[in-house]
Amino acid sequence: MTIAIERLLILAGILAVWWAAAFHYGPTVVPDPPATLAAGRRLAADGTLLAALGDSALVYLSGYLAAAAAAVPLGLAMGAAGRLGKAFEPYVYALAATPRVAFVPLVIVLLGLGVEAKVFIVFLGAIMPILVNTYAGVLAADDELVEMARSTGAGKLRIFLHIVLPGALPFVVAGLRLGATIGLINTVVAELYTAVQGLGGLLALYGNTFRMAEYFAIVITLAFAGVAVTEGLRLVEQRFARWRTR
């Protein structure tokens, strides 16, 4: 209960800083909260916001889901493969550490400026954190539990399904959350760098034409999207972790 009150206080603080900034810089640089709200209402009313949100959501969800669908099995396989997985390790980490924006020009050359390129940029951003975390989760398997399972006569598959996989789940979900945020960032990056479209496109449009109230409304929409995505995944995580007494 108290955390909710504290969060509201922090929100009030953020609004106060924003307001002060708006007062200091003037509405042409930083619009105040009511002006931003009004702009947001306008964008929502004429359908601009919803259309852009739809475009972005399509790119985001396609790229992210494809990344998850590829990364989780790959990470599990890498963890289960023992030495072979270990052999791949440095290359995977190297790729994970390379800023994925570095690949944008290559993606454009290969896939053009359309939806495919955007989806692929999101995919690239989200895949590595999910893969690396899933792999780490398999490696973090509790040796004592594995030995216990062995003593009951469980085979490799049973041990993997009953001990290793559930143990890795929190890591996988952490990776999915990380991938979700990076995927969101890459959605905007993709929309800025390729054919201007979606929320990223509106950001570029309003930023370049100094319509700051609209610009801020889009920024805040993105922030909300980020919160919605991570909170959603947190709820999923809780469903899977009923056994954890908290």
Partner: protein, 290 residues
């Protein structure tokens, strides 16, 4: 099927006489050394251990920390191969499975399974169908006094309750061999006495082989047909003492028996000497008067 052959070829030169039961567990010249990852010197967890355990006997391993008791149980269960020597269970190299139940020193309950789920997990290899597994699990949870917590998760249990859940899991497949690594160490004194009596009663009924590890001299004498005293660095067997106290021992005050008191004093002194004279022990050189 287990009737001893008149002359087993070569393996056991001194073939046991026909009337003597065949040893169920047989360790001959077993050594096990652990190489720590880097730097630290290798540890001789067990060196040249020979031990033979007959059908239906209750053997207690007693000895100070680090003398290889857990390692010995893992070797017998087939979880670990010996470096040299041979480990035979029912005449063959051991294979882990429902035929042997292992109560681990740390409880090793699966945190994302309910208590019932944990017990049922050990029943997968028994060939019982789903309903029978459920029933079997409930029965053994009842036996250890956890029936009401069958649907709880291990995180909701106290230490002693976790230990009892782990005990139920090891008992549930009704194994021919029970390997118990300090199974009552974290149970309170009253429950511990109940569990000891319960274990003796179960064992009197089913007469499986029990290989039981404890630090408690009293517990060792109370339970054992034979107490095997072990010493550390290198881990080895020092001596084995038959405990002839009449059974069932829960029927009378066994601790008041002169033989119990005598054994207790002897084992206490042996262990204390072991700890104080072991230069690697944490208590080496302490005054011997305390």
């Amino acid at each position: 099927m287990n009737r001893p052959e008149p002359a087993p070829s070569g393996a056991f030169p001194a073939a046991p006489p026909a009337e003597k039961p065949m040893p169920i567990i047989e360790l001959a010249g077993v050594s096990k050394r652990f190489e720590p990852p880097r730097g630290a010197p290798a540890v001789d967890a067990l060196r040249d251990v020979t031990l033979s355990i007959d059908q239906g006997s209750f053997v207690v391993l007693l000895g100070p920390s680090g003398c290889g008791k857990t390692t010995l149980l893992r070797l017998v269960d087939g979880l670990l191969p010996p470096d040299s020597g041979s480990v035979r269970v029912f005449g063959r190299a051991p294979v882990p499975g429902p035929g042997m139940g292992f109560v681990f020193q740390s409880f090793r309950l699966v945190p994302w399974s309910t208590v019932r789920g944990n017990v049922e997990f050990a029943l997968a290899g028994t060939g019982l169908d789903r309903a029978a597994r459920r029933e079997r699990a409930e029965h053994y949870l009842e036996l250890v006094g956890l029936a009401r917590f069958a649907s709880a998760y291990p995180g909701e249990l106290s230490g002693g309750m976790k230990q009892r859940a782990a005990l139920a899991r090891a008992l549930a497949p009704e194994p021919e061999i029970l390997l118990m690594d300090e199974p009552f160490a974290s149970i309170d004194a009253q429950t511990r006495e109940l569990m000891q009596a319960e274990l003796m009663r179960l064992w009197a009924l089913r007469r499986s082989v029990v290989l039981f590890v404890t630090h408690s001299v009293d517990e060792a004498i109370l339970l054992a047909d034979r107490v095997v005293l072990m010493g550390p660095r290198p881990g080895r067997i020092l001596e084995a003492i038959e405990v002839e106290l009449p059974r069932p021992r829960w029927r009378y005050d066994v601790r008041a028996e002169p033989r119990f008191i005598e054994l207790r004093a002897y084992l206490w002194n042996r262990i204390r000497e072991l700890v104080l004279s072991d230069e690697n022990s944490d208590f080496f050189g302490r005054s011997r008067d305390f």
